[in-house]
């Protein structure tokens, strides 16, 4: 009777160690696999660099909608606009259908569809608006969206490489 609880304890300790090892392994595999093999969306520069191979695939690209680039033909429900990574990688996007309510110039979007071989134009089947984590009361001086937050979350790989000097790098 004296031995069994001790035995039990050592066995359960093994279980705990075993489970935590499995958990760590699962997390590690999930982290490395997901981050290296699949991306939810490409940034415009990545998409353009790989356009020749990506053109046959269904991909997602994210970018900021360039101010003044929006063209909307209500009769044919044709929408066109340009997305940019703010580093001179621009892609012209065409979409059939009305844009979501939150869609506007200067907003972040994720488009799903196919890119042309030269990487200059994109035919979108799905248009999604990405909003930032900012919530604020309506201001009297009109839109004062903190664009930096949105840019950071869209292009976070670049943002971590070069923090807070968006203007100096080409």
């Amino acid at each position: 009777m004296n031995l069994s609880p001790k035995k039990k304890r050592s066995k359960s300790t093994k279980w705990v160690i075993g489970i935590s090892l499995i958990a760590v392994a699962v997390i590690a595999i999930a982290l490395t696999q997901i981050s290296s093999n699949t991306v939810y969306f490409y940034t415009p520069d990545e998409a353009q660099a790989k356009a020749a191979t990506l053109t046959s695939q269904n991909i997602k690209v994210a970018g900021m909608v360039v101010a003044g680039s929006r063209e909307w033909v209500a009769e044919t429900l044709k929408l066109a606009f340009t997305i940019t990574d703010l580093k001179n990688h621009d892609i012209r996007v065409s979409y059939n259908g009305p844009p979501p309510d939150m869609f506007k110039e200067g907003q972040g979007v994720v488009v799903e569809g196919t890119i042309s071989g030269d990487g200059k134009s994109f035919a979108a089947r799905t248009l999604m608006v990405k909003h930032s984590e900012e919530y604020k009361k309506p201001s009297t001086d009109g839109g004062t969206m903190n664009k930096e937050l949105l840019e950071k979350s869209l292009f976070k790989t670049q943002a971590t490489d070069k923090p807070s000097n968006s203007g100096t790098q080409p």
Binding site: K8, R9, S12, W15, V16, I19, S20, I22, A23, V26, I27, A30, L31, I34, S35, V39, Y40, F41, A62, P99, P100, D101, M102, F103, V110, T126, L127, M128, V129, K130, H131, S132, E133, E134, Y135, K136, K137, P138, S139, G143, T144, M145, N146, L149, S153, L154, K156, T157
Partner: protein, 230 residues
């Protein structure tokens, strides 16, 4: 006598908590200002985020129940785990539903397979899987072990869900409250949101304890009726 009294207060406090939650929703719908970019639809956040935290908290309770069960090999901890898994499933489904309702008018889609949504979906699947696993294995040490191992794995998904928006590119926006550089939310909004999270956390703990108590009573009655038959 004392047991009956404690049960009484547990049920009573749930009523009080639900009344508080109702009060918080009133604030969220009527008092808090609209969001500049999103308008009224952003108010879903006052249910969506507390529900998400409640599903995380349930996973925490499930982890505690699972570790205690593995350590002591005492089956009665499964009652706590089971209660946590059931409440966790409820709140995960609530999170997914409210998120979807929020996503359609703001993102333009009901659903997308980004890292945050996928890992949250996985949490719902695993909670459901826990309940199925519990029902599939006959009572005994192997059920205690298997369910507890799954419980630990479910809890491991929570930090992944939480960090998914910073580790990967997602459509879902990053954290608002706990982030470097302070919160990106207006202070009135933040106040109502934080109180909502706090109240929902209390509701969650309360629901889990009430459910654990009913499961314990159920077991006791079953044992008594079996004992009487033999």
């Amino acid at each position: 006598m004392t047991e009956r009294k404690s049960k009484f207060t547990l049920a009573n406090s749930l009523t009080v908590l639900l009344a508080m939650l109702l009060g918080q929703w009133m604030l969220a719908w009527l008092w808090v200002p609209v969001d500049e970019a999103q308008g009224d639809v952003y108010r879903v956040i006052y249910l969506h985020v507390p529900a998400a935290f409640a599903s995380f908290l349930s996973a925490g309770v499930l982890l505690i129940g699972s570790l205690l069960a593995l350590r002591s090999k005492d089956e009665h901890w499964l009652n706590l785990s089971r209660a946590a898994a059931e409440v966790g499933l409820l709140f995960t489904l609530l999170t997914l539903a409210t998120g979807s309702i929020w996503g359609k008018p703001t993102w333009g889609v009901w659903w997308t397979w980004d890292a945050r949504l996928t890992t949250s979906f996985l949490l719902a699947l695993m909670y459901g899987g826990w309940i199925l696993l519990f029902g599939a294995i006959p009572q005994g040490p192997s059920r205690t072990r298997s369910c507890s191992i799954l419980g630990v794995m479910i809890a491991a998904d929570v930090p992944i869900i939480y960090k998914s928006v910073t580790w990967w590119r997602t459509l879902h926006q990053p954290q608002t409250i706990l982030r470097t550089g302070g919160s990106t939310m207006d202070s009135d909004m933040l106040c109502v949101l934080l109180s909502g999270i706090a109240i929902m956390a209390l509701v969650t703990v309360n629901m889990i304890l009430v459910r654990r108590e009913t499961l314990r009573l159920e077991q006791e009655l079953e044992e008594k009726s079996l004992g009487g038959a033999s």
